[in-house]
Subunit: 213 residues, 2 copies
Amino acid sequence: MIKKTETSGWRQARRRSARDAIVEAAWALVREEGLAGLSLRDLARRAGISPPTVYAYFDSKNAIYDAMFGAAAAQFAGRMAEPYACEDPRELLAAGARRFAAFCTSDLERYQLLFQRCVPGFEPSPQSYAPALRALGGAREVLALNGITDARYLDLWTALITGLVSQQVSNDPGGGRWTALIEESVAMFLAHCQPAAARPSAPGPAWPEGALS
Amino acid sequence: MIKKTETSGWRQARRRSARDAIVEAAWALVREEGLAGLSLRDLARRAGISPPTVYAYFDSKNAIYDAMFGAAAAQFAGRMAEPYACEDPRELLAAGARRFAAFCTSDLERYQLLFQRCVPGFEPSPQSYAPALRALGGAREVLALNGITDARYLDLWTALITGLVSQQVSNDPGGGRWTALIEESVAMFLAHCQPAAARPSAPGPAWPEGALS
DNA sequence: GTCTATAGCTGGATAGAC
DNA sequence: GTCTATCCAGCTATAGAC
């Protein structure tokens, strides 16, 4: 699979853009037909190529799902890492939760592929999965800003927020019955998990530069 | 589809038991192959009949999924409605959550069909869905025993518990990383949502007989 | 790299005898 | 109701010319 690395400049760039075009067509198709409705025939037609040509860029159908997953995970990490308008640790926590919910509810299929994992034989590769882990690390940092470092509380936080989002997309798609509970969830969570010392506007401990990236 | 109702006694009973046998075979197959791996050929072989005979009992493949869903929902409602050893409202709430988690984690495929909804073209019929709604009503009753009647808090409770269970089965199947947080979740939830009046051992208001059934 | 053509398989569902 | 036999549609993936 290794080619001459010297000629790789614009050639690889072209190949990459062709791959990206196929992945984008796959997303368009999936948003119309659902995650399970992705077929190579339809994908090829949508992308303006013939079905076998798809195999010039992807080894299998699952490789396409993996590329889609990777793109979605990158979007996720990028969105969560954008700068926040506030600095207050508590507001940062709430803003992150709101952002996560907005990201999930704005694209149902993307949410399903990233977080529901219900494509029959597919599991994301470690490379595609990495950006999602990076974003989770961001949550850990923000919790630390709030004085919360217990790993158990990180688990509790993720369960709480993903639970809200899951109920939202499953039982009230397009509405706000559960996402409207985010502020209250933050209050409930902090009241229970935040140590008394960190309760007022006491500044948190120093943390590494670029911790949120 | 309507037959002579006078001859329906043992004849319908035989038909019911044959249906049940097929549904049981379907569950056995699904536990081996996954929810998406249910095919009529394999199902027929497992049930000891020929593929077309399946259509003597079910109109389509989705009708089989629906029967499976109905059976699972009935198990769920039955399990949640079994008598509880304690009477303290707070302990009742925690016991219900533990029971729910145990029910979900003890059978992954059943959990996926009931609560994850990721079978491509399938949606449960209202009849099959009804028992699940009954069980949700039970949660509302127990929350009322704890002095919590705000519908928003019922939503928050379901999000919190389903979030814990979802993280558990997705990220630590067979373990207890998230289910171990149930007690703490109950404490957190009640501290935030329970009115101060109901905090001590004050008895809740009277409620209808058989409210939990 | 891209195409046409097609292999090879599996799936749900049906026909018709018994 | 149950069977054998089969239809037909859809899929992924490959072969081989260009």
